[in-house]
Amino acid sequence: MPPPLANTTPDAPLLDPDDPWRGQSRLSAVAEFVAPILLALCGLVTVLTTLGILAVLVVQSVEFFAAAGIGVGDFLFGLELRPGARPPRFGVLPLVWGTFLIAFGASCVALPIGLLSAIYLSEYAPRGVRAVLKPTLELLAGVPSIVYGYLALLLVTPALKAALEPLGLRVDHFNAVSACLVVGMMIVPSVSSLSEDVLSAVPQGLREAAYGLGATKFEVSTRIVLPAGLSGVAAAFILAVGRAVGETMAVVLAAGTMARFTLNPLTSVETMTTYIIQVVGGEASYGSPKYLSLFAVGLTLFAITLALNVLSNLVLRRYREVYR
């Protein structure tokens, strides 16, 4: 058995006044104690905000269902939204349809433009061009969404009218197509910037391997780099769709506020967000079923965007596992 260790309690004070090494300052000890608490509190703010929003939405939605005297099923699967009718109808599906229409249309614009520009930036653009183009593209994301709304109202819709009305197609002043176009342009930076990050992160070794086999640049880009980064691109895309779903100002200015099922995108539609704007801005009295309905719509919207974000994260995690 080894001998017991000697008692090492120092006789002299630890700090020798002549020692040039003074050890940690007292301030740093305080910082070491305070910093994690402060940082944790800041982190908690976002979590608490989310939980708070969720709580308000849930409580008010419950109140709405009680006040309107309808069930959750009537709300989620109701085909009519007529809060002013007698009895009022609170079916959310027309809003879901409008939201879907705008998100789908915007995707049709944003996916090809965003993806192709990402491929250009990551694979083709010379360094100088890329250094200019990428920040410019990201600047597009900084334009306030109401500006896109004006763009739709003052530029896109008149252009659509000029182009389509001679063909005998009636274009409403507020219509879904111009909303799709501007919202699509608006989310292009989200798609392209994130996709470009993902494509650039594809290991250079894969590109070299493909070139070494006699591949052309186009083959390397589309058949090696893009498939390798596909789940990342998908995640970027889902995230961008989430933005389109939640977009309000551009949509309200471009597409108006007419809740209905229509396959004709040249007429006005209403999305969940624009419904909320309309109700808040309208004369619905506080506590009335119409007023409360906006919380139920908000909760539905929250669930949809949350689902899209979770989906995007799941897809992105799978992508990261490929190159662990």
């Binding site: 070794g205 070299e208 391997a209 070494g212 086999l213 006699g214 591949a215 083959e219 058949r223 090696i224």
Partner: protein
């Protein structure tokens, strides 16, 4: 810009067995303003294994990448002088680098299989090059040639990334063989592998040299001694590059001569471990 080589090639396809597979004359490679490789005159014999040795930063990989125009992928790289493959110059904008790379295959330092199935790793190169034959047969033949078939025959549709490092490197060799190149360039192919996997790759190289011209860059002088027939030693020439390291070719000899009786004192210093 091209130095003339004597005798001029009458027809590329008639390349005789004695003619070097690859030649460089007065080869210089620049990366931006820094000279990476200076005045390299090298003949790479056909159906032999040629090793490029030398300390880090001496331009071995840069030289290797001149043989399949891989330096094209580096934005500010510039190649001067002449490089010939089967007697035909492969320097300059008129050369079809894509076609060249199919005939001069490459295996890289880090095993880099595509994130695709083992089968598709092999078939990919053949597909993009318009191979119209029996793909299953080509995949099996390539994997057998790379001594990997018995280990993967049951799992051809599993991801290539599921294999061990040594298996991945042999998969990359099989992938290169599948497009039927004449030359195989290997850039430190064993530096990421354990000794057993290294031995397997070296056995494979020995086996392949009857049909292919192989050029291997290696840091491992024992490996150069074991596998190569000819060894070229490159050294960084610090003074000439204005502080930057510029690689020069100091000696090319049959491997047994170079390692036992080197002519250049710099080679001797390097192989005895006094430099690098």
């Amino acid at each position: 810009m091209s130095a003339t080589l004597a005798p001029p090639p009458a027809a590329a396809s008639d390349a005789s067995a004695d003619e070097p597979a690859l030649q460089t004359r007065a080869l210089r490679v620049w990366y931006g303003a820094s000279l990476a490789l200076r005045d390299v005159d090298l003949d790479v014999p056909r159906h032999r294994i040629t090793a490029l040795i030398g300390p880090s930063g001496c331009g071995k990989s840069t030289l290797l990448r001149c043989f399949n125009r891989m330096n094209d992928l580096v934005p500010d790289a510039r190649v001067e002088g002449d490089v010939r493959f089967d007697g035909v110059s492969i320097v300059g904008p008129k050369v079809d680098a894509v076609t060249l790379r199919r005939r001069v295959g490459m295996v890289f330092q880090k095993p880099n299989p595509f994130p695709k199935s083992i089968y598709n790793n092999i078939a990919w190169g053949a597909r993009i090059n318009g191979y119209r034959g029996d793909m299953d047969e080509l995949v099996e033949r390539s994997l057998r040639r790379a001594a990997l078939w018995d280990e993967v025959r049951e799992k051809l549709h599993r991801s290539g990334l599921d294999l061990s490092g040594g298996q991945q490197q042999r998969l990359c060799i099989a992938r290169t063989l599948a497009v039927e190149p004449e030359v195989i360039l290997m850039d430190e192919p064993c530096s990421a592998l354990d000794p057993i996997s290294t031995a397997r790759v070296e056995d494979l190289m020995e086996d392949l040299k009857d049909d292919y011209t192989i050029v291997i860059v290696t840091h491992n002088m024992q490996q150069a001694r074991r596998v190569s027939d000819v060894t070229a030693c490159l050294m960084p020439d610090v003074e000439a590059g204005g502080g930057r390291r510029t690689g020069v070719l100091v000696e090319v000899s049959p491997t047994d001569v170079l390692f036992t009786n080197p002519v250049d004192p710099r080679t001797e210093a390097y192989i005895t471990g006094r430099v690098g």
